[in-house]
Symmetry: C2
Subunit: 235 residues, 2 copies
DNA sequence: AAAATAGTGTCTATTAGACAATATGTC
DNA sequence: GACATATTGTCTAATAGACACTATTTT
């Protein structure tokens, strides 16, 4: 009977909308220990290691709090990757979470930075372990839920315009979305109490002012629409 | 620096359609060791314990193979539950999978049996650890995917009738479904090559014979429809 | 007034759902 | 033929998507 030697960790794929841009960024943290010390990687912690955790969920929150002093707008477990090869220390297992952050989310220190998700997925930024895979899976889940739920709205500032919402949906989905369809979805959300018209306006440099909305979730899970945004895209 | 003592296991929520009935059953295995020896529980194994595993997925397949000598039609990781309380031995973590079995799936031995999912969820059959929760989560995922995918078809025999498919969808969903809608979905699947009309017929005791179909998945993941089966039900 | 941007209204296509109509078997 | 069941067809409702139209601001 050998001892059960499995290293358990949690890693966080924390996303925000890039400031003044239309794409997603992922929060990375410079590793403080071996292996891969000094490299940019997903923030994460060993589960119930030097610091006791009461639950996996708790460990995930601790990872974000300790490494980045951040509390996300939304967090969801995506899955667990475990095998004998992903960590040079041996058999390891990482349960990873998708966290959605507000667009203005600031981070302190030299050890933290946001990187474009696409540059990670396209390997222009290389991550240690299988962290690229974890980002890819989190991104896939986000895209899949975007077509039939209100999930992308968690990435918005407290007050947002229709175009902000459109940018978020498109960034999550990785493709263009019909703006009429999105407006109708926002209108339905408003009827259901999930979105509030603040009555305030935002004046762009030119043109008609934009209505400012507020996302007011009525439950822990996003609102589910009964149709996909992308009929052809399915499958 | 304390040692990282976390017990990692995989557990399988393997479901089949009850024979001659319209509901789901879950495969349980009588525990051979402490804790909870002799009780009916989800089949599972310790990850990379006495027997080496190369991956979590591999451990999940091993669990089904070792405990039940079964190869499922479909398997999907649902999530990981981990905390300090779920196992009396201490901090433990279980990654659990949903497995879908063919309706005739036989099991050998006194140590294996199918139980109605509802009797587990309603606590008429009590499972050790948090296994009831795992069954509930797997069932939720199945129901959620049933409204917009072909997932329930993995529960069918090689050749099935429209009514078989309807029974499966309704069992997965836990509620009645319009049979016209399901027929149209099957027709679309047929056009897409995901379902084949075998040309054969099944003669019920009375009435017109039933067409026999065959599920022929065109990819590893189920076919996605672009609308929900339950417009009102959403959210 | 012109330009630019936001927001509304109208029409089409698709598909779930209700239900009537038809087909094909047993007794 | 009567009956039972399966299958097809027709109609309605809801909503995504395309696009024309109107509204509101700056210059």
């Amino acid at each position: 009977m050998s001892s059960t030697e499995v290293l358990a960790s949690v890693d966080i794929v924390a996303l925000r909308m890039a400031p003044e841009a239309q794409h997603l960024q992922v929060l990375l943290h410079r590793r403080e220990r071996e292996p891969h010390v000094g490299q940019w990687a997903l923030p994460g912690v060993i589960v119930n290691g030097r610091i006791a955790d009461t639950s996996l969920e708790g460990a995930a929150e601790r990872a974000l709090r300790e490494k980045a002093r951040i509390v996300p707008c939304y967090m969801e477990q995506i899955g667990t990757e475990g095998n004998a090869f992903r960590d040079p220390r041996g058999w390891s297992l990482s349960t990873y979470y998708l966290a959605l952050l507000a667009p203005g989310q600031a981070v302190e220190g030299e050890q933290l930075a946001f990187f474009d998700v696409d540059s990670v997925l396209e390997r222009r930024v290389l991550l240690p372990f299988d962290h690229r895979l974890l980002v890819e899976r989190a991104r896939e889940r986000l895209a899949a839920k975007t077509v039939y739920s209100s999930l992308p709205l968690y990435l918005l500032a407290e007050k947002f315009t229709v175009l902000d919402a459109l940018a978020s949906v498109q960034a999550c989905l990785g493709q263009a979305v019909n703006s009429t369809s999105l407006r109708k979805r926002l209108e339905r959300l408003r009827e259901q109490g999930w979105v509030r018209d603040t009555g305030e306006k935002n004046q762009p440099r030119l043109g008609r002012p934009q209505q400012l909305f507020q996302y007011t979730p009525q439950g822990p899970r996003p609102f589910m629409f009964d149709r996909s945004l992308l009929p052809e895209g399915g499958q």
